[in-house]
Amino acid sequence: MNETLIAMRGITKFIYGSDGKPIRNTDVKILNGVDFDLAAGEVHVLVGENGAGKSTLMKILGGIIPPDAGELHIGGQKVDLLNARDAREKGIAFIHQELNLCPNLDVAHNMFLGREPRRHWVKDAATMYERSSALLQALSCDLDPRTLVARLSTAQQQIVEIAKAMSFASRVVIMDEPTASLTKREIDVLFDLIRRMRADGMGIVYISHRFEEFLEVGDRLSVLRDGRSVGGMRMSDFDPDTVIHMMAGHAIDEMYPRTHAVQDDRVLEVQGLRLTPRTPPIDLTVNRGEVVGLGGLVGSGRTELAKSIFGVRAFAGGQVRYLGRDTTGWSPGRLIAAGMAYLSEDRKTEGLVLGMNIRENTSLASLSSVATLGLISRRKEQTQAAGLIAQLSIVAQSAEQAVATLSGGNQQKCVLGKWLSTEPRLLILDEPTRGIDVGAKAQIHKLIDQIAGTGVAVLMISSELPELIGMSDRVYIMRAGAVVADLAAGPELTQEQVVAYSCLGER
């Protein structure tokens, strides 16, 4: 009916090891033979849980990364994209979540950066402003192109980016979670824009997990799960339960260790905490020996909550009570001394000091325990490091090996080792098994269970549904900065339920 703008066939992307080489001989891939089409004059919604592969697929379409296998056809012709610029020249524009504008330049100068029109060697500012105005007008936006981008709201910046994309005569526009920071009215304006682009014969890929938005603006949707396309539907046939079922998948026969027992003493109590002045208050508790999972989509505020508890992020109201004391405003050092530990999401920049070796990294949070009179005892430190290497099965030549040369799994074990050395009473884990091979994952799961068994309270943020459900005694689900569910482990705690709460905020 309408011409096919884009056809992606059998797109595959492997996971890459720390040595930079792809891991081919495994079923676990970032993308596994995915097909994706886009026709002219349609909005194709792309849906999937965290880590399903949506971003990767679109990055391939946008020319940012190459596929390891598969083909991309643009306008019926097979194409190999060299880079993002190449993609743009072939008519594909990518509107990222983090906007790609220079805040210190005005709108017109941003839009024409790199292709400033000239008249006898001189930059033709008048033409720039004229053309920018025209482009913005075409989107029903009366922004003054002389405005500094730093003064624009997120929504306005987005429109500028869209206008910029349009100025390249794009036929395909990829939008990654475009409504994340927009108000209701701004979303309406955006949707108007999208409808107009659609009417002009453009094809739009719309990545989102906001169900209420799909219906308004989408024509059809496709679901990705674990790197595969699991199906789609026309928007006229939309049924939220079916989509959730497709996103969540079926139960996996994995056994998660569960030998620990929840005790009655409360270790952590978050009362009425507001992540920002505009988000609702959060209440959360973790008991001794309890593994509490924290689920939700990326951007729902899980890491922000963890960092607020750990004293590295200021919050807008409420309090954190740890071991019965109000620890609001305590520094991380003070909290660590009191037994709190936080294994952050980004192990390379926040978990490990990459210039140092295993021994130095694992002792960093517990230096006083390996020192006498302020001087570090090399012997004590080596003993501690050796003990951790053994306990955590860290694969390394010795404790003196630089952590930068370890694999992802072993790096994560180092960070875990660092926190275990502090003899924590509350262990906060942020995506503890992300980017780690299966063997190491299982080991870490066993360790978490053992740690909880010794009476440590564990708060675990995870985007992997089987892990979240399998490891936790209880699961909180966050959405848009609020806790929308508190679910106990049991046969009713299914992946579908988690996805439903994450996306819809309700069952």
């Binding site: 991380p332 660590i336 952050s344 000091v353 210039g355 960093l364 570090i376």
Partner: protein, 325 residues
């Protein structure tokens, strides 16, 4: 200072390169010592070696402080001017006001500490980048030194005061031993103490360090205070050595020499990497070069230019051998 600036050549250096990188200061020193002995007459004469030691003592003291600042990824461009201020204050207190020696020493070190503290507070809490903060404060300090001195030099200082640095011990002036003691103390602090480990972690990765409980703000301020104190100590010893207190002592040239020595000694501009031992070897290395230039009759001004070339080479070598994530 661009914290977290990326290294341009590849990711992890080979094992060989990394090993060289860790011991580069020793290699440079050894090569220079050998070359000098072979190529320059009278270099290895005992009297000449003593001169080199004596000349290295005072920059070594200041270099230790600068090394610590560089290890956090910062810089102290006011160091040389603190030397001058310390000098004139020492002179006035010792001679004009005839204060007892211990009080003079304490007062001078305190001045250095306070100035360093101010530098640290401005850098950490006012968020002014270190190079601008210490550039500005350097000029302020220089002006203060000029005001305090009222344009004149204080010389012929009291014997008791001079004795601190001039007492002969085993053929060397006591100043050398003071420097050695300071070096030893800070070597232990940086390589063995908790503070040193935290300092290195902070220098490599401020975020990871802060999340591991390292008191990053306190350390950042402290290193500048230490640098200021050691700069003041250097000024004190300089004054004793030349028996004259003057506000122009040290200056920008001295700051530059100290930075050169630190970098030749293996300190990385990006933070995290550095050592007292390395910096001492760095000071000795450039003093060897200076000594040879003197012995060979080459103009001192050429040496200043050569110093620049040395630091460039050291930076390039450092970039190739330092791992930087």
């Amino acid at each position: 200072m661009a914290k977290g600036a990326k290294r341009p050549f590849g990711a992890v250096p080979g094992r060989m390169a990394a090993w060289i990188g860790r011991h580069v200061s020793f290699f440079i020193f050894a090569v220079l010592a050998v070359l000098a002995t072979l190529c320059v007459r009278n270099f290895a004469a005992r009297d000449n070696l003593v001169i080199i030691l004596k000349q290295s003592a005072i920059p070594a003291v200041a270099c230790i402080g600068m090394t610590m600042v560089l290890m956090t990824g910062g810089i102290d461009l006011s160091l040389g001017y603190i030397v001058g201020l310390a000098s004139i204050i020492a002179g006035i207190l010792a001679k004009t006001l005839l204060l007892p020696v211990p009080e003079v020493v304490l007062a001078v070190l305190l001045v250095g500490a306070l100035i360093g503290l101010a530098n640290g507070l401005i850098t950490q809490y006012l968020r002014v980048p270190a190079f601008i903060a210490t550039l500005g404060s350097g000029y302020v300090i220089y002006g203060l030194a000029q005001i305090v001195s009222q344009g004149s030099i204080v010389n012929r200082l009291p014997k008791g005061f001079l004795a601190i640095g001039r007492t002969d011990v085993l053929g060397l002036p006591s100043a050398v031993f003071i420097a050695a003691g300071v070096a030893l103390g800070f070597h232990i602090l940086i390589s063995r103490a908790i503070f040193g480990r935290q300092l290195r972690a902070f220098g490599f990765s401020p975020k990871a360090a802060a999340l591991s409980g390292v008191p990053t703000a306190r350390i950042n301020v402290l290193v500048y205070a230490i640098s200021g104190t050691l700069a003041a100590l250097a000024g004190l010893l300089f004054t004793i050595r030349v028996n004259a207190a003057q506000p122009n002592m040290g200056g920008g040239v001295f700051t530059f020499e100290v930075v050169t020595a630190a970098i030749v000694g293996g300190t990385s501009l990006f933070g995290g990497i550095g050592s007292v031992a390395g910096s001492i070897l760095g000071v000795l290395s450039i003093k060897i070069i200076e000594n040879c230039i003197n012995l060979l009759g080459v103009s001192y001004h050429l040496y200043l230019a050569v110093q620049g070339a040395i630091i460039l080479v050291a930076i390039i070598v450092g970039n190739l051998t330092h791992h930087r994530a």
